[in-house]
């Protein structure tokens, strides 16, 4: 039972992070290699909110997540917007530069010390014993439930809302979408905002559960193969990719060698790319376009 709990928690973590990669790629065809750093910034924003205000924990988390959404929009407005129409490689390289900049800024603004926002917020994290004897911390359970809610919300948003339909249209054919009067820059800004928001929610929940330091950016990068395995333009794919990678990691830790957990996402990625280069649920035409 504990094995199943471990798989679900890790899969939920990866899925929540990976959907940020998918959102931006699906809409703008940009691989955001600063996603881990933006996720880390969101978590550090919670540290600031927790220390600067006496807000109840839920409100503080909500405010930090909302601020991170703003950060994502600002990244688009002040950086990525200028690269619209430029080769995709330029945008990818820019996100690498952004990541390096954010890592430096985090140390300057918040120091390199380990932070524990849950303690600042007075948030307890007792373990819960589940049916079958498996144990899960309260915040890990919150992460699993949040991942379900975020994916449910994103599916509904993209399928039924006006902005969601516009986002899908901009992703499928930006030229036609623009000719039909869709404001591409507005759509891209929403995508960057939502991507940073979901990543930050993951970062915030991880930080609340087990502390925060600058290695969080690397955790963000570990979810990148998950998005590729599932297919970079498929939210459903990133859910399945997360489940596959998490299962392989946890089973290898348990039965083979814990050291393999670090390389298995990339082994799975190579296997999937060899058999199906566009990922399990990705679109073949999108790969051709890349």
């Amino acid at each position: 039972m504990q094995l199943a709990v471990n798989i679900v928690v890790l899969a939920a973590t990866y899925a929540l992070i990976a959907c940020g990669y998918v959102l931006i790629y699906r809409v703008s065809r940009v691989l955001n290699l600063a996603h881990g750093e933006l996720m880390m910034v969101g978590a550090y924003l919670l540290v600031t909110v927790a220390s600067a205000s006496a807000l109840p924990p839920l409100l503080a988390v909500g405010l930090a997540a909302a601020l991170s959404l703003g950060v994502g929009v600002l990244v688009h407005l002040f950086l990525m917007r200028r690269l619209t129409g430029q080769p995709a490689l330029a945008a990818v390289l820019t996100t690498i530069g952004l990541g390096i900049l954010l890592r430096g800024l985090v140390v300057l603004l918040w120091s390199a010390e380990q932070q524990h926002p849950a303690q600042s917020l007075g948030l307890a994290n007792p373990p819960i014993t589940l049916f079958g004897g498996g144990r899960i911390s309260t915040l890990s359970l919150a992460l699993v439930l949040t991942t379900g809610a975020v994916y449910g919300g994103l599916f509904a948003f993209l399928r039924f809302s006006r902005w969601g339909i516009r986002m899908r249209a901009a992703g499928q054919n930006p030229l036609l979408a623009a000719q039909r009067g869709i404001n591409l820059n507005g759509i891209y800004a929403v995508a960057w905002g939502l991507s940073t928001f979901t990543g930050s929610v993951a970062g915030i929940l991880i930080a609340l559960d087990s502390g925060l330091d600058t290695t969080m950016a690397t955790i963000g990068l570990k979810a990148f193969p998950v998005a590729l395995v599932g297919g970079l333009d498929s939210l459903l794919g990133s859910l399945l990719g997360a489940l596959i990678v998490a299962t392989a990691e946890v089973v290898l830790i348990q039965y083979v060698d814990p050291l393999l957990s670090d390389v298995v996402p990339f082994l799975i990625l190579m296997a999937v790319l060899l058999a199906r280069p566009w990922g399990l649920f990705g679109s073949r035409e999108e790969l051709d376009r890349v």
Binding site: Q2, L3, V5, N6, V9, L10, T13, Y14, R103, G104, V107, L108, S111, A112, E113, Q114, H116, Q119, P127, R135, S137, S140, I206, S210, G211, D213, T214, T215, A217, T218, I219, L221, K222, E249, V250, I253, Q254, P258, L259, S261, D262
Partner: protein
């Protein structure tokens, strides 16, 4: 591209070059100063371990200078950030050693930066001091002439002291779990502990090697817990030590846990409030309230330091050693004089360690290594010494 575009491009390149020049420039020092260079991981993923030590060293040097300097001359500390990257460490060493009259080079960074810095310092004949970074094997007897170390932790000695403490508490008929981070140093030490535990009659029931950026430690802790250890020992960066413990507790494991007491120990013992979590280390915690610790606290507070005073012991001790070495070298100093002074140096650590830090011609680690064990006492709601200073001779 039109003329306008070319002009913009030229301006951009010139501006970039100017900014780069400013970034890489090393400030020149005056001829009447003791010049000391430092390359450290002030930013980057491991900055949490090293940046507080650099800050403490800087504060200590400022304090010495404010009191008139050493032998009537100020110390000029030139700090360069290497982010824990070997290439940047090599560049920094070249830049710093390119300064006239540099007397001493310090490394406060990851072990991956050692090789290029050792090579550069030996080429220049300038002593290299490892401060807050792990002591390389070259400083143990028989030591390489130009390499020295003040850092608290010492591979193999630490595991010997830890397992001796475990034996004292629970005997040798115990199941021992082990946890390391998948970096060479941590793995090597835990492998050594596994062998030593066997020699002592303990049963090493599981050994988990955790990757540096594991998003969840529970899968590793699950396996450890299933092996039913009475004790778990971790010698790893703090994040791995404490996250393994927290994951084990989450799973309901109630055994004893001992880890190396890094600079974060004091705050973390108070945060975790776990009476069965022991921290073994070579530095005194600030709960001792020593006069020197009050001095560090006052200095850090006056300087409005980014880091808490209880993170600064390593850097402060390095400052004491630098001051003592320069004082003994006299004025005017040369790298040769500093080297001679460091090869026969005894520094009173004023209680920050269990005894003085003493170097001899062939021992540049220290002649005696002292250990103390702390834990959180739930009854008194405070940190307590579980086992007082125990000395180990270093031959």
């Amino acid at each position: 591209m039109g003329n306008n575009g070319e002009n913009v491009m030229q301006k951009s390149i010139l501006s970039s070059l100017a900014v780069c020049a400013l970034l890489v420039a090393v400030p020149a020092q005056a001829a009447d100063e003791y010049a000391v260079g430092l390359s450290g991981a002030i930013t980057g993923p491991v900055a949490g371990t090293y940046a507080p030590a650099v800050e403490a060293l800087r504060l200590y040097i400022d304090k010495v200078n404010a009191a008139g300097g050493v032998n009537g001359h100020p110390i000029h500390l030139i700090v360069q950030d290497d982010q824990g990257q070997p290439s940047m460490g090599a560049t920094n060493a070249k830049k710093l050693l390119g300064q006239d009259n540099l007397l001493l080079l310090l490394n406060t960074s990851l072990s991956s930066t050692y090789a290029p810095m050792i090579a550069e310092s030996q080429r220049a004949g300038v002593p290299l001091l490892f401060a807050a970074s792990v002591c390389p094997k070259e400083v143990y007897p028989p030591a390489q002439p130009t390499l020295f170390c003040t850092t608290a932790f010492a591979s193999q000695f630490d595991s010997r002291a830890t397992l001796a403490f475990v034996k004292e508490k629970s005997g040798t008929s115990i199941n021992l779990g082990l946890a390391a981070m998948s970096i060479p140093l941590s793995r090597g030490e835990i492998d050594y502990a596994e062998g030593l535990a066997g020699e002592m009659g303990m049963k090493a029931v599981d050994k988990e090697i955790v990757p540096p950026a594991a998003p969840d430690y529970t899968p590793f802790a699950t396996k450890l817990q299933q092996a039913s250890p009475d004790w778990v020992y971790s010698w790893a960066p703090w994040v791995t030590e404490v996250k393994t413990l927290e994951a084990l507790r989450k799973l309901g494991w109630e055994g004893n846990y001992i880890g190396w007491g890094h600079i974060e120990t004091e705050g973390e013992l108070a945060r975790l409030k776990d009476g069965k979590f022991y921290a073994i280390g070579a530095n005194a915690l600030f709960s001792d309230r020593l006069p020197v610790q009050q001095d560090i606290t006052a200095t850090a507070t006056a300087a409005n330091s980014t880091y808490a005073a209880n993170l600064m012991t390593e850097g402060w001790i390095a400052g004491m050693v630098v001051e003592a070495a320069l004082k003994q070298a006299g004025w005017p100093a040369t790298p040769e004089k500093v080297l001679a002074a460091m090869s026969h140096l005894k520094v009173d650590t004023k209680g920050l360690r269990g005894g003085p830090l003493e170097w001899t011609a062939d021992n540049h680690f220290r002649t005696r290594q002292y250990y103390r064990v702390y834990r959180w006492n739930p009854a008194s709601n405070g940190i307590e010494v579980v086992k007082d200073w125990t000395a180990y001779e270093v031959h």
